[in-house]
Structure formats: C-alpha cells, structure tokens
Subunit: 255 residues, 4 copies
C-alpha cells in the first residue's frame, strides 16, 4: 500500500511568505511549486527546488492565472491559445530551474480559479491537457476529482493521479463540496484522520450525505498555509505511517 | 563565407506591439525572442516561435530585467542568485514554448541594461554565464563585443558568437561607443552598408577614431523598431547576398 | 447645440504606444486617460495631462481592471470592496497627477470588460458609482447607454453624460450591439457621418432593425487606435462643425 | 514634550501580509501606508486607512520604487520626470482612498532604495521634493536624517519632520550607519530604550564612535515586521509614556 503526500509550496513572492514551507517540505513526498504567475518568483522557485532535491522530494509545477494580487483565486476569462501559452510558459520556467539545479519536474497541477474552472469545463480541461501534453507527455497530472480533467488527460495520453483532500467534504458524485457550502471544510483533526484511515484501509470516503463512496487516490493533499494546518499535516503523516502505508511520490507509484 | 542575421523580436506585450516583427522575420536567420520580463508575453512568444519555425528561422532567448514599464533599459541592482534564477526562468520559459511548438532554442542574448551591465562587469558576466551553462551548456551566447562576457562564456564552456552592429560606432578597443556619445549611431544607409561590406569582405571595422580593427563576428544585429530601420535591414540583407555571403544561423556555423 | 468629443488616450505603457494620441488630442474636447491598470503609466499620464492642459482639453479617468497584459478586456471577478478600492485608487492617481500639473479632472469612464460588466449588472454598477461618488460627487460619469449605470449614477448623486458611438450599431433598446454580432461595427465613413448628422440635428439614431430611436447624448466617442479611425475622427469633427454644432466639454454643458 | 510614533504599515500585497499591522496600529500616532508600488494594494490601503481613522491614527504615503518583487529595496535608475510622476501617482492614490474613506493624508515618506538614494543625492532629493510640493505643499515630509532631503524640502516650502530610529546606530554626522556595517542595528531592548530616553529627555543620541550628538526629532520610527520588533515597539511606547512625553502625530505638533 502506497500513497503520495503533496502540498502547495513556494507560495510567497519577493519578501512575502505564505505558510511554513520548511515544515511542510519535511512531511511531503511531492511539492507543487508556484511558478510566478499567482505566487512564487524565480528565486523562491530556485530555493524550493534545491531544498526539495536535498530532501528527496519530487517537484511539480503548480500553474495558475497571471494574478499575483488575486493569488490566482479570481475568475479570469482568457482566450484558450493565450491561456495554453501561459501554462506552457510556467511549465517551462520550472523545468528550467529544476534542470539548472539538477532536479527533475515530474508532475503538474492547476491552482485556484484555473483549477476550479477547468474541473467544471470540459472544453477548457481539454485544451489545457493538450497544452501540458504538447510540452511533455510524461508529466503526471495531479488533480482533485474532476471528470472533465480526467477525460481530457486520458484523451491526450497523460497519466493522472487523483489527490484526496482529507479535510474537505465530498458530494455523492465524489466531487468536492464547494468552500462556500456550510460543512465543506472539516476542521476536527480526529475526523480528518478517520477519513484518511478509511480511505487508505478500505478505499472509502464518506460523502456529506453519509453515502460511502469507493475511492483510490494516489495522493493526499496537505495544507500548510496556517499554523493549525501544518500540525494537522504532521498528524496525517504519522497516521499514514502507523497504518503501515508507504509514502511514495507519484512518479514512483505504478502508473 | 557565412554570416547570421539576427534581430530582437516579439517585443510587444499584450495588445502592444514594437516594430514590424513580420517584416524582420523575413530578413533574419535568427530571432532573439523577449521572454516576458522586459517585453513579450507567453502568447506573443508562442506566435513568434511558430512563425520562426514556419520560416526556418532559429530562435534564442532575449533575457532581461523584470521591468516591463522600463523595457529592461533601467539599471537595477539585483542580488546574483536572484538574477541568475530570473535568467534561468526566462530560458526555461522559452525552451518550454519552443518544445511545445516543435521548435528548438539554440541561443540566448542579454537585453538592455542587463546586457550593458554584464558587458562592463566581469563578476556579473561570470555568474550570468554560469547560470546559462547550468541550464544548457549547448546554448550559444550571442553578444556584442565584451571581454567580460567572452571570458565568462569561455570559462563556463559556452560557445559565444559576436554580433556586429553595423549602424553603431566602435572605439579603438572594438567596443561599442555608448549611445550617449555624439556620433555613436550611424544613420546614413550607404555608410552602414559600406561597414557591412568591409566587415564581411576584409574582416575590418573602422573605429570612430579612424583606426582599422580586425573583426570576425558570426552575426549581424538588424534593428526593426522603426520604419526606417526595417528598410535599412532589408538593404543590409540584399548587400550581404550581393557580396555572395551565405546567411546561416549561428548554430549551423562551425563552432 | 453643443456636443463633447471624447477619446480614450494615453493607452500606451512604458515604451509602448497605442494609437496616435497627438492627432486625437487635437480633435477632442475631453480626453479619457488610462490610469495604469489596464494601460497607461504615471509618466504617460503626466505627459497627457500637460498636453491636454496646453490644448484646452478636459481630462477624465478611464479606469479599468488590473490587467495590462489583457488590456483590461478580460472578464475578471473581483470582490466589490476590492474593486471599489481599485477604482478610487485610479481616480486618486489621476487626480494627483492633474493637481500637480495644474489641471483638473472633470469626469470618469469605465474601460473594457469593467465597463461591459457594469453596464449589464445593476449591483456592480451600483457599488462602482457609490465608490466614484465617495471620492468626488462632482465627477461626471461618461458612459455609453446602460440603464444599470444610469440608475446607479442617479442614485448616488452623480451627473451622467451619455456618449454616442457613431460607428457602432444599436439595438431597439438603444444599447450597443455586441462586437461579436455581425454588422455591429459600421465601417463606411459616409454611413458614420450620416449617423452623426442625424443624431445631432434630429436627435435620432437608426437601430440595426431600422427603427428610429430618440437620443440626446452629450458626447461622441472618437476612436483613434487605428490609422483609419483617426482620419474618420477628423471627418466627424469637420462634419459637426459644418452642422454648426459647438464642441464643448461635458463639464461646460448645462447639467 | 511631544513626539510622534510612526510605523510602516499596510506592507502586504494581495493575500500576503508583512508584520502585525493591527498590533502596530495600536501603538502609533502616524501610519506610513505603502501605496501599491513596492508593497500594498488598493484594498489593503483602504482597510488600513479605515482602521487608522477609527483608531485616531494619522496617515501618510510611504512611496517607493515600482518593484513588488524587490519590495522597493533594489536600486533602480529611473529618469527624474518618470520618477516624479510615480511619486505623485502614489500620493494621489492614497489621497483618493483617504478622501473616499473620510480620512486625510497628512504626511509622506520615502521607502527603501528610493529613500536611501534620495538621502545621498541632492539632485534627486530636489526633484522629489519639488514633485511632492507640486502635489500638496501642506504635506509633511517625514525622513530620517539627510541633509539632501532637508535642504530640498526647505527649498520647496515643505515642512520636514526628522524621524529617529532608536534601534539603529548613527555616525558622527548624525546619519544612519548603513545596515551592512557591523553594529548598525541595536538589538538589545534595554539599549534601545536607553537611546529613546536620552533622546527625549536630553536631546542627545550617542553616535557609534561614542560621541554625543544633539538631536530633536519629531518622530520615532517603530518597526513591526518581526514578532520581536512588535514587542520592542510596545516597550518603547510604554517608556515614552513613563517619561511623561505626549504621543502626538506630526501634523499636530507645532511646525
């Protein structure tokens, strides 16, 4: 039994920091690195890539909308060819920094509004996945549950790994309940750990309705942007180890 | 006898354009493509890369300071490790866009204040060339005459091709006379063409002092940012062809 | 009979230019000046304000989304309080530059996607007009036909002047036909001039359906972003003068 | 005996925060608010202005270079007319936000590299102070000791208040010892408090050499960008109150 632990890191910009990157890096097997559009900058990316390399952590590009002020969380309508070029630009930028540092980019994920929009829009998911594949068909797409993204990744020959959000409620279709819905975020640590256990041992997540859904994600997304979140992340990791599950980055899991 | 013709292209941003990219692309064998820091953006880069591929033109990264408003022409003091990461980020971004489009990045050059500062600062030239080599030791560095950059490129195992500015005065050391000096820009088309002829046929450039200097650049930089400049560029190309010199991109010239 | 002629000016950024500001400034009585968010920058704003002052042209703030790369034409979803602060920031910035130059800002208008969204969204129009009024209740709002903006301006005690787009088709409700609709832009100069004549002399615009609509705009918007547009703008001005109509900026028309 | 306490606040951007603004706001009589160029954004400025108004704290514009990534700490060479327009733009922007919120901007100060460069460059100080005066001759300039800025402010009719940095070493000319010099920052709280006492009661600061210098600053700059700094700021305030000195914003001190 193996699972990847990933987190969104390097989300500062210039002199600003977001979350405790050092603490989170010690917990994860994969780091999703912001590429300078919604967060991050070349120096922050470079430092994170080198820390990840030193810590044996795999790296992926966390690509987003060009909106530092909005942290990539604002809906933006960008023409497909422009948006595709932006995604490839970000993939290339992190690839370059990884290459110069002697590391290797193994995966990618979509951040914020870009991810939410693509998850709900088959046409958008399709051109984004085609863009990713045009850059590197060996990149693994890490995504929360989305039929649109899963279908698009498959269509363009990309391997997709589903990531599980242990502290978020799911609906009966296995999709994340939007943050705006009451009860969408699960705060009690014990409840979160129980969900991790159930998912790992029985392959089950209990939807908000109480329905048990079968699930086999390859990864768990840990949040580190608040102090409490980072402690919870450490608890989750200990729980996984206690269960006897191996923490293995996505690229070293069987495809 | 062979020479490369290169120009700085894709220097628009969003809805803004700079110079006549289409006209210039038809004249050159190599395009130096702005990478979004001082000019350019992902969509403009993508279009230029595809046009260059279709036109049989080689592409290189024209890297600059992160200063769109100043067009990369303002002196900025940036810590070496940050600046190196910025350069690698830009190289990676264009590499990514080229890869997705099926083209290949063969060279790089330094833009504006970044180039001027590096040309006059051996330490800065050294860390920049080390950064370029860390990304790809096969990239060719295209530069106007600078002992600092030449020495640094050699030290880090990078091939350097000198580019000749036919419309700019040179001093007795073979360095460009700064733009602020009277007479530094040669406006008369016939004088510019004569300099091209002399350089190609006799390997000589006449310095501002009248002194004849030996020179063997591998490339000529054409300007296209004004209407007059684009017509002059066309004249230069015709002159080179009339001489019987082959126009060959730097990567296909013997190293 | 009096009418204002206005145009969107100062839409360059850094070294980039958009349209022929000098030609247009000589034709208009009011300049809508981009405030650095979708276009413009402090130096461009300052030059335009001083040229307008010298030319006896009134100035207004042309406020937009924070999106230079998209020229403010991309839909962005920004929280009302944030967006309001952005609008006030832009108004204040131009006010400051005008004050330092000895000029006075008399009006404001909404650019691109911001304007289109507000024109169709009564809630958004309301908070934007409230924001404008909180900064300066004496600013005149210049807008193409929009019931949402008109009602919101009235509610917040702001004077609104409707601007007429002579080269754009109108629907039966007096609203602009979207650019994406065939026939929405009227290219033939004679047809445009005829519309100007009809509007000025009879207070009528012929909708796309052929229906005659009563209209009494206080201003005509001239486009200057293409060479053809600038010549057409000159023709329109001559036509207005030939009719005997006075060209008077909005602040000097009776409210 | 009266003294102003000021701090640099609102130095976040978008989702990023810098320092504990709420804690510092409770300690100061004046807030220097970043204006979106080196830090800050319209929404952050708006929130800070409203909090300052509610807390009875005066506000000033903390203007800087256009360099979010470098936090305004990087040297940039910007042409005087462009830089002046940038300063006025920032002053106007904060003025606008204050006006809309019902508050009033009373002062301004120069941030980071902009301040350091102006403090050492009489020509630059002169055109910057001329720019400030052109916007509003009633703005008070708050500055650490600099003959260049003091002379320029006087020349352009601006009142200047010197701010004292209790945790920084001074040289024999009363200028700040650069941060790069060993011993330039005084870390021991008791030493800092002793300097505050000596300055307030005897009008003396002990230079790094041991020499006693006469000094009568109108303000003390409190740092709040680290947890330790915020606690020290609270200690300084308590010390001042214990001495019996009144904490009064610069605009309410006799000029």
């Amino acid at each position: 039994m193996m699972i990847d632990l990933n987190a969104d890191l390097a989300e500062g910009h210039g002199a600003w920091r977001m979350g405790d990157d050092a603490a989170m890096l010690a917990l994860v097997s994969s780091a999703n690195i912001a590429c300078g559009f919604h967060a991050g900058d070349p120096a922050i990316m470079d430092r994170m890539v080198r820390l990840a390399l030193a810590g044996g952590v795999e790296i992926g590009a966390h690509v987003g909308f060009p909106d530092l002020q909005g942290f990539g969380r604002r809906v933006m309508h960008i023409a497909p060819t422009e948006l595709d070029a932006m995604i490839i630009y970000q993939l290339g930028a992190l690839h370059g920094i990884a290459r110069a540092a002697g590391h290797r980019m193994t995966h990618m994920s979509l951040h914020g509004a870009l991810g939410n929009m693509a998850a709900a829009d088959a046409l958008m998911a399709d051109h984004l996945m085609r863009a990713v594949a045009s850059f590197d068909r060996d990149l693994i797409v890490v995504s929360s549950t989305s039929r649109a993204i899963e279908a698009a990744a498959a269509r363009h020959g990309l391997r997709l790994v589903t990531t599980f959000l242990a502290d978020r409620a799911y609906d009966d279709d296995g999709l994340l309940v939007p943050r705006s819905t009451p009860g969408s975020v699960i705060h009690a640590p014990e409840a979160v750990l129980e969900r991790v256990r159930l998912m790992l041992t029985d392959g089950i997540v209990i939807a908000q309705s109480g329905k048990a859904l079968a699930t086999r994600p390859g990864s768990i997304l840990l949040h580190g942007d608040t102090a409490g979140a980072a402690s919870l992340a450490a608890l989750i990791r200990r729980e996984i180890e206690a269960i006897g599950c191996s923490i293995v980055p996505v690229s070293r899991q069987a495809g």
